[in-house]
Amino acid sequence: MTLDGVHDDEMPEPSDDLWPTGDPVLAALAEDLRIVASGPAPEPRPGLVAVMAQGSVRPPEPAGRKKMLVKTFLGSLAAKVALGVGLATASVAAAGATGVLPDAAQHAVASVVSAATPFSVPDPSSITGVTAAAEDPSGSTTTTSSTSTTVAGGTGSGPTTTVAGTDDNGGTGGTTAGQPDNHGACVSAIAKDKSATSDTENHGRVVSTVARSDCGKTSPSTTVPGSTTTSSTSTSTSSTVANSSRPSNSGPGNSGNAGNGNNGNGNGSGKGGKG
């Protein structure tokens, strides 16, 4: 309780924000500070002189961070969408290259890839055509074209031997569908089939050529030196894929070929023998 009858805690607190006026001590300090802040401006340094001379001012920044955040988000969103589309495209292309897409999608991918790139992927529409031909009861030779191993006898005079997709077991044993990697069976088939060559010497040469080739081996793209790959090879390759993936499509007459130990061969078939 003060003399005025007012408690200390009842006195109004002085406002801290108000600078104490009329204080002689602080007035002396304020006078010193006024002197400190007076006088000429220091000589501007070269960096500042350059800024003032250029007269160029940085453009105003956006009103708030909100705008910037929205911009950043949209930018990253576009990047994410682009990345997603790219990944999806790559996935479809990869699936198309392996041939696991449904027929319609596979056809679309094959069309796009063949049109836009130098590559090609399996196209079910072309396969279907071959299969249809293979199913033609009158066209027994079509099965040959789909799975045969063609060994050109050479350039020019050499005999050309076309070996049908028969195997040691008449298409039921030895080599079945999905069992193409058998070089021995391939060579054996050539060796046993003497009907294609007229004389023993040529037959031996053909067998020798086949033995040295990649017939029945796993590598699909290996070719015999000096060989030529004809356009029919492509057809043969496609047909092989069709037959291997859809064995049920092969007609009864094709059983020997559908199974065909030439599947592995068909990939690299159409080889020309030595001249």
């Binding site: 801290d16 924000d17 600078w19 104490p20 006026t21 204080d23 002689p24 001590v25 602080l26 007035a27 002396a28 300090l29 304020a30 006078e31 010193d32 500070l33 006024r34 002197i35 400190v36 802040a37 007076s38 006088g39 000429p40 401006a41 220091p42 000589e43 501007p44 340094r45 960096g47 500042l48 800024v51 003032m52 001379a53 250029q54 007269g55 160029s56 001012v57 940085r58 453009p59 105003p60 920044e61």
Partner: protein, 194 residues
């Protein structure tokens, strides 16, 4: 030169001419406007940095205005706000300088600051005043010194100081009150002539 009323009844000089016109001219790239703005506030900024013990107050003053002028296109506000903005930049640059000096200690020459103004008498008075204020501020806690000098030299409000020092307004008020009390005690003890 026009006079702008500020804290405590004492006055801070204003810029030559109308501030809005000056600002608009500077924002349009007028070199003369830059020079006027610099002549207006550079002495006070240099004095603030000098009293705060800056190693190179004149260099730092140039750096402060270089930064401010580079970003002037985005500034909006009146004269008081511009002054507050400049002193806030000055304080941040001073903090950076101290931080650098702490990492790589620099030998500081404690000789009286070079204040070549042209008038010997004025230079002497300024040097003495600077030394007196610096001696007074040496007895303060750094935060109290920052608050009082920004308040008296920069004419910043409590809220502006709170923003510059990243403290609450209440803390700034407390620092101001204690700092003033400490200065009063010190001046009374030394018998400073009033």
């Amino acid at each position: 030169m026009p006079i702008t009323p500020t804290v405590g009844g004492h006055h801070q000089p204003g810029p030559e001419g109308s501030f809005p016109e000056l600002l608009a001219a500077a924002q349009s790239g007028g070199q003369w406007a830059y020079e006027r703005l610099y002549r207006w506030l550079a002495p006070a900024v240099a004095g603030y940095l000098r009293v705060q013990g800056s190693i190179e107050p004149d260099d730092l003053t140039s750096e402060v205005f270089e930064r401010a002028f580079s970003a002037l296109g985005g500034f909006q506000g009146d004269e008081a706000r511009f002054r507050s903005w400049i002193f806030t930049i000055a304080h941040h640059r001073l903090t950076d300088e101290r931080r650098k000096a702490a990492r790589r200690p620099v030998r500081v020459d404690h000789a009286p600051p070079d204040l070549a103004g042209g008038d010997v008498e004025d230079d002497a008075a300024r040097r003495l005043a600077t030394e007196r204020v610096r001696a007074l501020c040496d007895g303060l806690v750094p935060d109290q010194r920052d608050v009082l000098l920004l308040r008296m030299l920069g004419a910043l409000t409590v809220d502006e100081i709170a923003g510059a020092l990243r403290k609450s307004p209440g803390a700034v008020k407390a620092l101001q009150r204690r700092g003033l009390a400490a200065i009063r005690r010190e001046m009374e003890r030394e018998g400073v002539p009033l």
